[in-house]
């Protein structure tokens, strides 16, 4: 029970009054931004990254962990009360959750989402604690060629599997990789894509890119669609569950966790797939059980399952991030950037170099998760009120923090200019329906990937075969090829019937 002891040590490190305060602030901020549609956890992290420069690494990570889990939870509130998912992972929750709310069972829907999130987050974090060391010891053995291959796999999966259009995914990836190239070449010190500008020689900071694309882009997009018909909100009291609700919820919670965690840990990450699978599973099981099948009219199982899957995958994301230094979601990319700022290099060596930090982080995830439940159950009506904040005031605040954050990166007005450029880029990709995730992943993974590729090629004296000389690397390349080839084949031989929900959501966004 070595892991358990280490985790208890982590608790000892995390459970100071000051740290708890940061966890509470993180959870509140996270829920705040999660509730507001269009502002996800990734954007919140990017905005708040500069604010935490004054803190030490542990406290900053604790706060980030709180923001992350809080954001995941906040999205479910909006889904249930408004039928407008706060973030993409809550799309499935909205289907049954909103119908429950319309039937006057909003309190139960919110409660099952909150408690399900708590259970899934707790189990997921414990799984991270048990898996990460194992994977890390294994990952020390693998060489640069395999790393390169795994990163390639992550990029291909994120660009082609998630989202509606593969072409758009790869366009986003190409833009991201290009941004990642700007600056001095690490080994030859040649300037690349700088256009002779000295300011660009250091490369473009990920914070400026993320804040620009997420915050400024979203603000411009909202400004372009400022006046919209208000949405009917369903009034809500304090969430609670009856005995029957508990009986019907616990199994979907566990099934959702089991579905969500592995998907979160895979390089293709994201919570969209597992929440979708969880919803389908629960609907099928309910149909088989017969009797009181409420699916389509507000079944509590349809909220409990996807919400648990959502949070379990949020926890699963930490496995590749901590063990391999490989971010698989936009939020993980920002977390990776945050760690780099503190001189922490996530990857196989992290577990041995800075075990205290990791175990404290994992312990604080568990604490944050508990705080989430304690704080948010009573506060649900307050969060619902948040939706009445007029957009001009809201986005003025976001713009303020965005500019502050971008400026604090290098104390240079040039960064503000860059921020505006990336803001316009963010607006453009929203306009043309290009996904954000591959772009951000390209910016952060591109340079890491280049380092590994250079390493592999240096070892082989420049021969391309250096990229293929590990059996595991070849195996991963086979997966890459499969990921590119198989989905179109499946789509060809099976009529697409399951994508309707995503399209529906998209239509609402556009109209």
């Amino acid at each position: 029970m070595d892991t358990l002891n280490l985790l208890l040590d982590g608790f000892a490190g995390a459970l100071t009054l000051e740290n708890l305060l940061y966890a509470a602030i993180g959870v509140l901020l996270g829920t705040f931004v999660g509730v507001l549609p269009g502002i996800g956890p990734a954007m919140a992290l990017a905005l708040l990254l500069p604010v935490t420069y004054g803190l030490d690494a542990t406290q900053a990570l604790i706060m980030f962990a709180g923001i992350y889990y809080g954001g995941m939870y906040g999205g479910s509130t909006t889904s249930i009360l408004l039928n407008t998912p706060g973030e993409s992972a809550s799309v499935m929750t909205a289907i049954e959750g909103n119908k429950m709310a319309k039937k006057g069972r909003a309190a139960q829907a919110l409660a099952t989402a909150a408690i399900g999130s708590f259970i899934a987050g707790t189990i997921g974090t414990l799984l991270v604690a048990f898996f990460t060391p194992t994977i890390a010891t294994w990952a020390v053995e693998i060489g640069a060629p395999t790393y390169f291959a795994i990163m390639l796999l992550a990029m291909v999966l994120v660009s082609s599997v998630l989202g509606a259009s593969r072409l758009r995914g790869f366009i986003a990836l190409a833009i991201g990789l290009t941004i990642g190239l700007v600056g001095l070449d690490a080994s030859t010190a040649q300037a690349r894509l700088t256009g002779g500008s000295l300011e660009l020689a250091d490369g473009i900071d990920i914070v400026v890119v993320a804040v620009g694309v997420f915050a400024i882009g979203e603000a411009l997009w909202t400004a372009a669609h400022l006046r919209r018909r208000p949405i009917d909100v369903i009034p809500v009291g304090r969430p609670f569950m009856g005995r029957d609700d508990w009986r019907r919820s616990w199994a979907p919670w566990l099934r959702g966790t089991a579905l969500g965690f592995p998907f979160g840990a895979l390089p293709a990450g994201g919570a969209e797939t597992p929440t979708f699978l969880s919803y389908i599973t629960e609907r099928k099981l309910a149909a088989r059980r017969g009797g009181s099948n409420e699916f389509g009219e507000g079944a509590i199982e349809g909220v409990a399952g996807p919400e648990a899957a959502n949070n379990a995958s949020a926890a699963g994301m930490f496995v590749p991030l901590l063990a391999l230094g490989l971010p698989v979601t936009a939020t993980a990319s920002i977390l990776l950037a945050a760690m780099q700022k503190y001189g922490i290099v996530p990857g196989p060596t992290l577990m041995t170099d800075q075990p205290d930090l990791i175990w404290t982080l994992l312990a604080s995830l568990l604490i944050g998760n508990t705080l989430l439940l304690v704080i948010n159950l009573p506060l649900a009506p307050v969060w619902a009120k948040l939706l009445r904040v007029p957009r001009p005031q809201l986005y003025a605040g976001i713009l303020f923090f965005a500019c502050l954050g971008a400026y604090s990166v290098g104390q240079s007005s040039f960064d503000l200019l860059l921020l505006l450029v990336f803001g316009c880029l963010g607006f453009a990709i929203r306009r043309f329906g290009i996904p954000v995730l591959p772009l951000i992943l390209g910016v952060i993974l591109g340079p890491l990937m280049e380092v590994k590729m250079r390493e592999a090629l240096d070892l082989s004296g420049g021969a391309v075969s250096g990229l293929f000389n590990e059996p595991l690397a070849i195996f991963v390349y086979v997966l890459v090829v499969l990921a590119v080839v198989v989905p179109p084949l499946i789509a060809r031989y099976r009529p697409p019937a399951l994508l309707e929900h995503h399209d529906q959501h998209h239509d609402e966004e556009v109209s």
Partner: protein, 129 residues
């Protein structure tokens, strides 16, 4: 020719609606109920949803007065009321008003004040009982 009523689903709107209906009956004319939002927040409790509109429609029908509901979105609330008053050549505008301290008025502005000052027809300002 009609009475224009500025309506929001709270006690101020109710007071305006009740008095507006009385006024319409006395003058033997119809009412145009205006419900409007700036549409700049995700949720606006002062804007009637589909259900609220049906309820209001039903209540107006029960009152027996010739009626029409106009919901607009996007503009300033006072401007919208005044525009509709002009459009239907209103006999009078009925609005509910609330108590505001001078400081409160400075921060929040006052829709009622602007309607009263800018209207070209009589304005009846009603306080809830």
């Amino acid at each position: 020719m009609a009475i224009v009523i500025g309506f929001i689903p709270d006690k101020y709107g109710e007071a305006a609606l009740a008095h507006g209906l009385e006024e319409a009956a006395r003058r033997q004319t119809g009412v145009v109920v205006v419900n409007t939002t700036k549409g700049d927040a995700l949720v606006d409790n002062r804007y009637l949803g589909a259900e609220g509109k049906v309820t209001l429609e039903q209540r107006l029908a029960d009152s027996g007065v010739e009626h029409e509901i106009r919901q607009t979105m996007g503009g300033d609330v006072a401007d919208e009321i005044l525009a509709i008053a002009k459009d239907v050549a209103a006999d009078a505008i009925v609005i509910g008003i609330r108590h505001r301290s001078p400081v409160g008025k400075l921060i929040m502005g006052s829709v009622a004040q602007r309607v009263i000052i800018d209207a070209t027809c009589p304005v009846i300002a009603v306080k809830p009982a």
